[in-house]
C-alpha cells in the first residue's frame, strides 16, 4: 500500500529488500494483546533507568525492541518475567499485565511467571551438563511426567538443532559451537512449554549464518509462541519482527519508549522524527 515510501526507506537500510518484510498481510492490530505494560518505571538504586513505558505485546507475534545502547530495552524485557528480581537494587513500578494479571502482584510467584515466560540470553549459557540434560532439566524441575526422550527430541527438532546433535546427546552442551549453543538454549526454553519467549540480543554473539538460523527459527516458532526480541541489529528487527518498539534516551539519560507499531510502518513511515533518525542511521 505504501510501496513507494517503503522502497525509499529500504534504500536507507543497506541489505534489506522489500521482500524482507514479512507478514505484511497480517492484521496485527486486531489480534489480542497478551502482555500489557502500563506506566512502567524502573529504578536501579537512585538511578531512574526506564521512564513511564506503556506498551502492549500481541499474542503469537514477534515484537522487536530496538534502540541505542543503554536505553533500557533489555531492562524492560527482563521485567516481563521478573528476572530483574535478581538484581537487589532494581525497583519496578507500574503494571506488567500478563493475561490481565499483574506479574508483580503479591500473590504471584516469580517461579510460575518464568515457567510461562521463558528467556534466552545474550551470551549462550548452556548448563555444564549433557545436551540431553540441558533440555530435560527445565521440564524435570517443572514436574514433567511425560516421555523425556520424546520431549528432548521434539524440543531439539523445533529448535532446528536435532540433526546436528542427535548422535551426541550425551556430550556436554558446552562442546557445541556458539550458534548451536544458542539454539540449545532455545530448545531448553521450549522444553518447559512456555507461552512467551523473551530473547535478549540472542544473536549478538553469533556469526551471520548462525544468526540467520536463529531468525528462521523464530519465524517458525511464531505460530505457537509469543516472542519478544531485543536486538541491536535493525536489519534483524526488520527481517524477523511483526511489530517494532523503539526505545531511546531522554535528556536525563532515562530510557523512554518513543514509538511502537507494525514493523513495516516503523521502518518505512515512522511518526516520530527520532525513530526515523535512528533507523536511517543518523544517530545511535
Amino acid at each position: 500500500m505504501q510501496l513507494e515510501s517503503s522502497q525509499e526507506a529500504v534504500a536507507r537500510i543497506p541489505g534489506i529488500s522489500a521482500a524482507a518484510f514479512q507478514s505484511v498481510e497480517k492484521e496485527l492490530d486486531t489480534s489480542p494483546s497478551l502482555i500489557e505494560l502500563r506506566n512502567l518505571n524502573i529504578h536501579y538504586g537512585s538511578f531512574h533507568a526506564v521512564n513511564d513505558v506503556n506498551l502492549s505485546i500481541k499474542q503469537n507475534s514477534i515484537t522487536a525492541f530496538i534502540g541505542p545502547s543503554g536505553c533500557g530495552k533489555s531492562t524492560v524485557l527482563r521485567c516481563i518475567n521478573r528476572m530483574n528480581d535478581l538484581i537487589p537494587s532494581a525497583r519496578v513500578d507500574g503494571e506488567i499485565l500478563y493475561h490481565g494479571q499483574d506479574v508483580n502482584a503479591r500473590n504471584v510467584d516469580p517461579v510460575e511467571v518464568r515457567r510461562r515466560i521463558g528467556m534466552v540470553f545474550q551470551r549462550p549459557n548452556p548448563f555444564p551438563k549433557s545436551i540431553y540434560e540441558n533440555v530435560a532439566w527445565g521440564a524435570r524441575i517443572n514436574g514433567y511426567k511425560g516421555n523425556y526422550d520424546e520431549l528432548v527430541e521434539a524440543s531439539l527438532v523445533r529448535a532446528a538443532l536435532w540433526d546436528e546433535v542427535k548422535d551426541k546427546l550425551k556430550d556436554s552442551g558446552l562442546s557445541l559451537s556458539g550458534g548451536q549453543q544458542q539454539r540449545l538454549c532455545i530448545a531448553r526454553a521450549l522444553a518447559t512449554n512456555p507461552d512467551v519467549i523473551l530473547l535478549d540480543e540472542p544473536a549478538s554473539a553469533l556469526d551471520p549464518i548462525s544468526t540467520l538460523k536463529i531468525e528462521e527459527l523464530l519465524r517458525e516458532l511464531e505460530s505457537d509462541y509469543t516472542i519478544v526480541i531485543v536486538t541491536h541489529n535493525m536489519q534483524q528487527a526488520a527481517r524477523v519482527s511483526d511489530r517494532t518498539v523503539f526505545f531511546s534516551l531522554n535528556e536525563n539519560r532515562q530510557g523512554i519508549l518513543v514509538e511502537s507499531g507494525p514493523t513495516q510502518k516503523m521502518f518505512t513511515n515512522p511518526e516520530d522524527p527520532r525513530t526515523e533518525g535512528y533507523i536511517s542511521g543518523r544517530f545511535g
Binding site: R114, R115, M119, F121, N125, G138, I141
Partner: protein
C-alpha cells in the same frame, strides 16, 4: 562528526611515544627472577626442614611406631592411639565444619540480603580466622568441656577443632560460590527454577571443586594444630585408641610435643620419626582430596 574525529586524532603526535621495549622487557625479567627466588627460598627451607627431621628420625621409623601404644621405653614406644586420635579429630571436625561452614556460606551468598548486615558478618568471620588457636581451645574448654559436661573427650576436641577451622571453610566456600558465573543462575531461574533448585543443581556442582579446596586446607590445618587440643583434651598419656566420642584421646602433634620434652635423647629421634609419619599421613590425605577435586572439576565446567 567524522571530521572532528580525524582532527582530534591528528593531534596525537608520534614523537610523544617512547616505547623503550627492551627496558620494559628487562623489568619483566627482573621480576621473573624475584619470583623464582622466592619459590627457590621456600623449597630450600622446606628441604632443610625435611632434612632436619628425616636425618635423626629415619632410623627410628618402624611398624612399631605405628602399631604400638606409648611406652616409657623408647624402643617399644609407638603412637597408635595418637594416629587414631588425629584421624578422628580431622575427619570429625572436617565433616562438622563442612556442614556448618557450607551452610553458612550458601545462606550468606545466595539467600541473605546483601547489605550492611552481610558485610558485618563477613568482616567478623574474617577476623575469626585470625584469632589465635589457643583462644579456641579456651572456648572449647569453657563451652564443651565444662558447660556441656563433655569432659576432656574426643567429641570436645572434634567440636573445638571444627570451630577453629570453620571461618576458613566459610570464607573459601563463599569465594567458590561467588565465582560461579551469574549467567548460570540466570539460565536456571529463566527456566522457572526455584532458588533451591538453582543452588543444588547448578551453583553447588560448579562451586564444589573450590569448596573442596577450602576443606582440604582446613583439614590440613586441623591435623597439625596442637594448642587447642592441649587445653581441651589429650595432655596426658593415652594408651588406647579412642573407642567412641566420649573416650579420652591423643593426637600426633601432642605425642610429638610430649616426646620432644623428655630428657632421653632417644625420644627426640622418636619424635622426628613421628613427624615423618605425620607428614606421610598428611600427604596421603591431601592426595585423596586433590584426586576428588580433579574428579569434580572435570564434571563441572562452564
Amino acid at each position: 562528526m567524522s571530521s572532528e574525529l580525524i582532527s582530534s586524532a591528528s593531534q596525537i603526535s608520534k614523537a610523544e611515544y617512547q616505547p623503550r621495549v627492551s627496558a620494559r622487557q628487562t623489568i619483566g625479567r627482573i621480576w621473573r627472577w624475584v619470583f623464582f627466588g622466592s619459590t627457590a627460598l621456600a623449597i630450600v627451607l622446606l628441604g632443610m626442614l625435611l632434612w632436619s627431621v628425616i636425618g635423626p628420625g629415619w632410623n627410628w621409623l618402624s611398624w612399631g611406631l605405628i602399631t604400638n601404644p606409648p611406652s616409657r621405653f623408647p624402643e617399644k614406644a609407638g603412637m597408635n592411639p595418637a594416629i587414631w586420635g588425629s584421624i578422628w579429630i580431622v575427619l570429625g571436625s572436617g565433616v562438622a565444619a563442612f556442614i556448618m561452614g557450607l551452610g553458612t556460606a550458601i545462606y550468606l551468598e545466595e539467600y541473605a540480603e546483601k547489605g550492611r548486615f552481610n558485610d558485618f558478618i563477613q568482616t567478623n568471620i574474617s577476623n575469626l580466622a585470625g584469632v589465635p588457636s589457643i583462644v579456641y581451645g579456651l572456648l572449647g574448654l569453657v563451652v564443651f568441656v565444662d558447660l556441656m559436661h563433655m569432659g576432656r573427650t574426643l567429641i570436645a576436641g572434634v567440636l573445638t577443632m571444627a570451630l577453629l577451622i570453620l571461618p576458613v571453610v566459610v570464607i573459601s566456600s563463599r569465594e567458590a560460590i561467588r565465582a560461579v558465573p551469574p549467567s548460570l543462575r540466570e539460565a536456571s531461574y529463566g527456566l522457572g527454577a526455584t532458588k533451591w533448585q538453582t543452588v543444588w543443581n547448578h551453583v553447588l556442582p560448579s562451586a564444589f571443586p573450590g569448596i573442596l579446596t577450602g576443606i582440604i586446607l582446613a583439614m590440613s590445618r586441623a591435623i597439625g594444630e596442637t594448642a587447642p587440643l592441649l587445653v581441651v583434651g589429650g595432655a596426658s598419656q593415652v594408651l588406647w585408641r579412642p573407642d567412641g566420642p566420649f573416650s579420652t584421646f591423643m593426637v600426633m602433634p601432642l605425642q610429638i610435643y610430649n616426646w620432644t620434652g623428655r630428657p632421653h635423647e632417644e625420644f627426640e629421634h622418636l619424635a622426628a620419626a613421628a613427624i615423618i609419619v605425620l607428614m606421610i599421613i598428611l600427604l596421603l590425605m591431601n592426595s585423596v582430596a586433590i584426586g576428588l577435586r580433579q574428579h569434580f572439576s572435570r564434571k563441572a565446567r562452564w
